[in-house]
Amino acid sequence: MTATLSKVDRGPAQEAGPRPPRRYRLSNLDAKVSPYLFVAPFFVLFGAIGLFPLLYTAYVSLFDWEVGADEPLFIGLENYRTLFEDDQFWNALFNTFSIFLLSSVPQIIVAVVIAALLNANLRARTGWRMGVLLPYVASLVALTIIFGSLFGPQYGLVNDVLGLFGISPIDWQASTFGSHVAIASMVNWRWTGYNALIILAAMQAIPRDVYEAALVDGASALRRFFSITLPMLKPTLIFVIVTSTIGGLQIFTEPKLFEPAGGSGGGSEHQYQTVVLYLYQSAFQGLDLGYASAIAWVLFLVVIGVAVLNFFLTRRAVR
């Protein structure tokens, strides 16, 4: 702003005068260009690895673009039309939402409870707090392989334990609901502690005097939790819910590695094939990049839609 003003101030008089000294011109250039240079890294990086792939994916999705084929064929919105008529896509979308709900809902509730417990006066507090973060530190791939073997349909430990209670073995690979529960339990195992720590941090920021006032008024511990703690956690809960929405709808590693023989079909009848897994299968097994790009874009829009919806729902609940 100042640069513009001073330019106007100097006006034509300056142009008529002798050229300003070289040093002045350089510093003038410095003042004008440097700020752009300073912010450039972000925009260059964002453009190169954020915006460009996003737009290029949209471009590719308009073609019948097979990996290695001679010439991609422009087909307009045909990929999207096929996609909306594709049962396997709707099935994948259903699976994604089912796994998302089975993981996120219990996860956030349990995370709040764990945070409340950790917030109490415990012995070896730091130890407990570090403890809940351990699953998050463990390698996702190792974790998934271990869970896959726990949930083995024939020789898995989970079925053995269920057998002790007289429950007949569940085929975790064949049953749609069973496989979703198995995958959701992997997600929960990994993320509950992480979310609990974020919520714990927010809990500790709640001013003590509010609780003291409530205590003086004779509010019970339960009442204090529901009337003070929860409402004051809302901004953090919004954050946790939105991030787990984005993560949950893009779930890939768990269902991919849950397939025992390493395929990408997500079960013999796609019982647990998620949208990203279907995308992966279309791109790298079907080698159909155009179709995979169309899936990517639809998923992108779905994620944004759900994240915004969640944001408004949670924000409304604050008031």
């Binding site: 290695g68 898995g156 025992p260 023989a261 009848e269 299968q281």
Partner: protein, 426 residues
Amino acid sequence: MRHRWVSVLICAAVSAAATTACGSGGASQSADGKTELTIATFNEFGYEELFKEYEAAHPDVKITQRKTGQGQPHHQNLFTKLGAGSGLADIEGVEEGYLSQVMSKSGQFNDLKEIGPKIEDNRWLQWKTDAITSKDGKLIGYGTDIGPLAMCYRKDLFAQAGLPSDPEGVKALFATWDSYFAAGDQFIAKVPGVAWFDSAAQVYNAMHNQLETGYYDKSDKLVVDTNADIKKDWTAVTAAVAKGQSARLAAFSPEWNTGFKLGKFATKTCPSWMLGVVETQAGPENKGKWAVTDAFPNGGGNWGGSYLTVPKQSKNAKKAAELAAWLTAPEQQVKAFKAKGTFPSQLKALDAPELLEQTNAYFGDVKAGALFATQAKKIKAAQYKGPADGQIQETVFSPALQSVEQGKSSEEAWKAAVEGAQKAAK
């Protein structure tokens, strides 16, 4: 100095746009005037010592190997870079399972009859060469190794079921698929808790590959729903599943490994390389229980094995073809067999004493080399593979058979498989 940086930057930008390869990419003259040849392989081809030998004999050539651990990422990389138009090695290994996808892009590979050196007739088993010859007669690759099929079985469990258990006696059981499934009925009636085979897909794929016409006819038309032979095989396998002959263990899954250890199935379709897998999975505690015989229902079959191809991207295609031809000569493949156990596809190599005398201690000191050489010669012809053939087998028929093992009816699963194949072929 400054200029160099600029050129590096431009180079990086340009190769990001995937049009040209700069400096180190692809093949080029290296600083000392040698021709650098790159060769991309996966798993173990057993070529490490051979490269040194070739370099010693050809002082003007420097060989760089790009080795990938597993086949899947290697082929993914191959197809991606075929699409990008650059970045491939001068010689690319191709596995039999990906052959149909490679053949559908045969235009991007060199015809080795045209650019390669003169090669003696009948170097390879006929079906091995046929499978990589395009419809217009171009030879896309040189055969390296193969995976001839034999039958592995549990001696102790066969004896328990009252079946013959010596390698000669069992041959009658493995004469045809009918006799195989009939023996299965007998077996499961006698030995409770143990299945006849590991999974339906493992049996079906072997049956399917013996058919003269598979999922496609020679004009690349999908014939899944009209080819009666496919339906016949499907019915036979799913009927066996219904009777309880399958252990319902997806191949290469952790539970499949457990199944080996616990002895949950009595037979296994066994390509040459499977002996090592059985030994690892069944473990020392089951030593002496597994046996292998040179019989396979309906003759022979093949599962696995690779080729060396020279993509058109290569800038030293002629020299690359020379190297590939040398590597796939019988003498060299016998050395690779000794190094890493890759079973040679060359007729002369199949008669080499080193191969014929090889024994396998885990399978009761059986002369495995001679056994699989016999099996390799039983294979009649290569089935024609259409463009989406590999995908139909991997992502449609195998899962559909698994769904039958999980309780779906054979008819419903068949319908789903046909629809899936049509979708994959689109």
